[in-house]
Symmetry: C2
Subunit: 343 residues, 2 copies
């Protein structure tokens, strides 16, 4: 392999000068720089990627920042694995690497330093929520107008970049479906309200009830945490309320699966005793018994779209000094009807 010495000799400069040229450091006469680049090219001198990214001010990596939750197999949830799959597809097409980084959800994560230290050229924030530390961290990032995108979580910042799904409409469609089938007494098992997409689901649920003239019964709104275990835990409460319920809308498939398992263990027959509409249309939705009526969310497409938008911003930055347009995408969901809602 060619070394720096040979390049220096051919170019007639010192080795230090070769390094300075190839690393883009300091002032340099243009004729000298050209001579060095010419020699390096002629000798096929392989630029070390780090040196080369240092020169270009690039890492070649798109960062994906996830919450670190001990013992939770995050990648094994449909939500994260599909988002990550879509991001991976875009990153692969764009010739980038995907750098996964974990943040502590209780601390203010220093996104800005990821850019300043050139670990990433852009980043996507997954699994974010409206807790104070995360809000502070994302607001700082938005203030700097760095290339970033928050996935599926609203923050109240004028420069927020976000790709989300229309969960208000998705939830409305789910509840509306039950009402149209004649089931008026509809409970709701939601995830935690720190996620804007939980609050959006609640808004959609309420809109559908209001529109149908059904009074909301707060006692029939249950809270889980999007895990199967939390769905199973809710089964006791739902079972207790069975006399007041025709159906339950559940905020994701995993909780719905846990709820069905729990109810079956308590002796329920599904969907006869209770109609269920879930959310996500994960793989599992089609092979539970009964198969789940559920709201399909295009997570893979959302991940791909966010990554594509960011890679485009990076490419455009080389062409223009104009600030990048904001990313504001809201994708449509789709109700998929199966047997759990009594069909």
């Amino acid at each position: 392999m060619t070394n720096r010495k040979e390049v220096a000799k051919l170019a007639g400069v010192s080795e230090a000068t070769v390094s300075r040229v190839l690393n883009g450091i300091g002032p340099m006469k243009d004729s000298t720089r050209q001579r060095v680049l010419q020699a390096a090219k002629q000798l096929n001198y392989e630029l070390n990627a780090v040196a080369s990214s240092f020169a270009r001010g690039r890492s070649g990596n798109l960062g994906v920042v996830l919450p670190h939750v001990p013992k939770v197999h995050l990648f094994s949830t449909y939500y994260f694995s599909e988002l990550l799959g879509g991001i991976g597809e875009a990153v692969h097409s764009g010739g980038y690497g995907l750098l996964l980084l974990f943040r502590d959800p209780t601390a203010v994560y220093d996104y800005v330093s990821l850019y300043r230290t050139q670990r990433v050229d852009a980043c996507i924030i997954l699994g974010s929520s409206a807790v104070e530390a995360e809000r502070t961290a994302v607001h700082r990032l938005a203030d700097e107008r760095l290339p970033y995108c928050v996935m599926d979580q609203r923050f109240d910042h004028p420069l927020l970049n976000i790709v989300a799904a229309d969960h208000e409409q998705g939830s409305y469609d789910a509840v509306r479906h039950l009402i149209d089938k004649g089931y008026g007494r509809i409970g709701f098992l939601n995830g935690a309200p720190q996620y804007s997409n939980s609050r959006d689901r609640l808004a959609g649920y309420r809109r559908a009830l209001l529109e149908a003239g059904v009074a909301e019964d707060e006692m029939l709104v249950y809270e889980g945490n999007y895990s199967r275990t939390s769905g199973r835990r809710a089964a006791g409460q739902v079972y207790r309320d069975l006399g007041r319920l025709d159906a339950v809308f559940v905020s994701n498939d995993r909780m719905a699966i846990g709820l069905m398992q729990g109810l079956r263990e308590l002796g329920c027959s599904l969907p006869d005793d209770l109609k269920i509409v879930a959310y996500d249309d994960s793989d599992a939705a089609s092979f539970t018994e009964p198969p789940l009526t559920t709201v399909r969310v295009p997570f893979y497409e959302m991940g791909r779209l966010a990554a594509d938008c960011l890679l485009k911003q990076l490419a455009d930055r080389d062409k223009t000094d104009a600030p990048a347009p904001l990313i504001r995408e809201k994708l449509r969901t789709e109700l998929v009807i199966r047997k759990s809602s009594g069909n």
Copy 2:
């Protein structure tokens, strides 16, 4: 923020010298280097991560190289998501980043250049198989004794680093369970033989039959590709052979789920018409109808172990010049008995 100019001024050197010191480029008088480092420290001059890794010869990233298969949502398969989860956990604990990179399975991937260009300090190879291009690439990597580990795929190289599960024994246990229950006519739906873990499963299947004095019937060995669709596709053949089958051992849960869906559509009642033992013990195994008897594979632990071994090699490299010991780990599987095998 402090800039290079101020550091140069305080140290009494040129800006170029500051860069050369901080980037570890070229020869430098030790007293000069000390003066620059002292000034940088005094002024809290933040070393750019790229410059800093360049100086240390490190990226701070563990690479994970995956096959790129268009349209396949790789992260949404239990196998990859669990392995990745375990790797992520180790990488997070070790303060590393996880750099995901995709390879074209038909080309010879240049692993070595990942190290030479300092994109990664070590790497884990997932989803590898014995096709010629992959064999060549892995052999080159092994020849160089770089810190790497192949996940769950054997290659015939004396310096192979591998973390795997004992699929021969796992498969033996699965088939033995069926034999012990009195089901002697056992078919086998396997994945493609380019994976050593498919060949290991076949070996375990054969050992159990041989030991029980059951003659293998080649007509009852079916091939899928570990996807649900391929399991569904196999349902037609299995259905045709029902008169000669008591049970089928299936190489992963996804294929088993597809097979059960297909058989049910053809009018079968499960597990009455056919006993099934699957493999993986993915999330879905417990909520299919009937729930799957399956072989639990500790994928998460395998991922964590491989990453931990590599991070330890990297840490040890700073302490000793001795070559790192080979990584040769084979983890045990465990049969989980549920209703699909007729219990």
